[in-house]
């Protein structure tokens, strides 16, 4: 199954995925070696992975599409980051844009999309 879980920061995404889908290995996109991002059953903090890729001048769309292509199963957890005032800083602006756009792509590829709000999951797809 291909699963995308989104929601604001600290809404309970990781707890929810742990209990509902029991992934054996969860990789943290905020700290893992970039090439190992999709080596586990689930990838947490996807928005931070995108940020790190951009900081290294890599194209996150290309990176993610390439990494996901051979995979039949994936779970990706990502913070929603697009609801603030558009940042003045170019990098911050582009980061939010990229996270939003890639989540749209992921949602298209996913079999199932869920959104967490106050710890409660809502199925969007």
């Amino acid at each position: 199954m291909k699963l995308l879980v989104v929601g604001g920061a600290a809404q309970g995404k990781l707890d929810y995925v742990r209990h509902r889908y029991a992934p054996r290995r969860i990789v943290d996109g905020g700290s893992c070696p970039l090439e190992e991002a999709f080596s586990g059953d689930a990838l947490n903090h996807f928005h931070l992975l995108v940020r790190r890729l951009m900081a290294e001048n890599r194209d996150p769309v290309e990176f993610v599409e390439h990494a996901l292509e051979p995979l039949e199963h994936w779970m990706i957890l990502c913070d929603e980051v697009g609801s603030g005032v558009v940042p003045i800083d170019v990098f911050e602006r582009q980061w939010r844009e990229q996270v939003g756009r890639i989540c749209c792509i992921l949602a298209q590829k996913a079999d199932q999309v869920e959104r967490l709000c106050c710890g409660i999951a809502q199925r969007l797809k």
Partner: protein, 176 residues
């Protein structure tokens, strides 16, 4: 019954909370938790007072632990506005660690649920702007997030308010 209404600023959650309280009927009390400091706070308070002027609420200003809330009547419904302010007051004015702040709000809520038939809580979405805040602010965010999650478990009704409309995450059919 606990009703939790969640949303961003100016989404209409307060007006909806008031209307929910009115629909429950009986005596109702509005618990104001925002410290009235500064001009914009005064303006917000004035706006909220006007908003609920004809809706039959008593008003009580209460900034700290819920378990000392003086209830002068047998109220049918209490409206707490809002979890974010109450949490900020307890976290930043007191010298107690975050997990105790969380316990205090939750224990206070459980205590209130034993005092009155209906509780309506307004709480805030401050989690989707992608900003990495300084530690003190980030701690505050995590505190409210955990309080929101635990309140949502406890609640009979959880709704996210958008443009004054409710997206029900729990208990959609339960309100009158």
């Amino acid at each position: 019954m606990l009703v939790l209404l969640y949303g961003g600023s100016a989404c209409g959650k307060s007006a909806m909370a008031e209307d929910v309280c009115v629909s429950f009927g009986g005596e109702r009390l509005y618990i104001a938790t925002m410290r009235p400091w500064g001009n914009d706070a005064q303006e917000r308070i004035a706006r909220h007072r006007t908003l609920r002027a004809d809706k039959g609420f008593d008003t009580l200003e209460h900034y700290q632990t819920l378990q000392t809330l003086p209830l002068s009547k047998h109220y049918n419904t209490l409206l707490l506005e809002c979890v974010g302010n109450l949490t900020a007051n307890i976290l930043f004015e007191g010298q107690i660690p975050p997990h105790q702040v969380i316990d205090e709000v939750l224990d206070g809520t459980k205590w209130l649920l034993r005092q009155v038939p209906h509780l309506v809580y307004v709480t805030n979405d401050i989690f989707s702007d992608g900003i990495a805040y300084p530690e003190e602010t980030s701690l505050y965010q995590r505190c409210i997030a955990q309080i929101n999650r635990e309140l949502a478990q406890l609640a009979d009704v959880v709704a996210e308010v958008v443009c004054g409309l409710a997206i029900y995450h729990k208990g959609g059919g339960l309100l009158p």
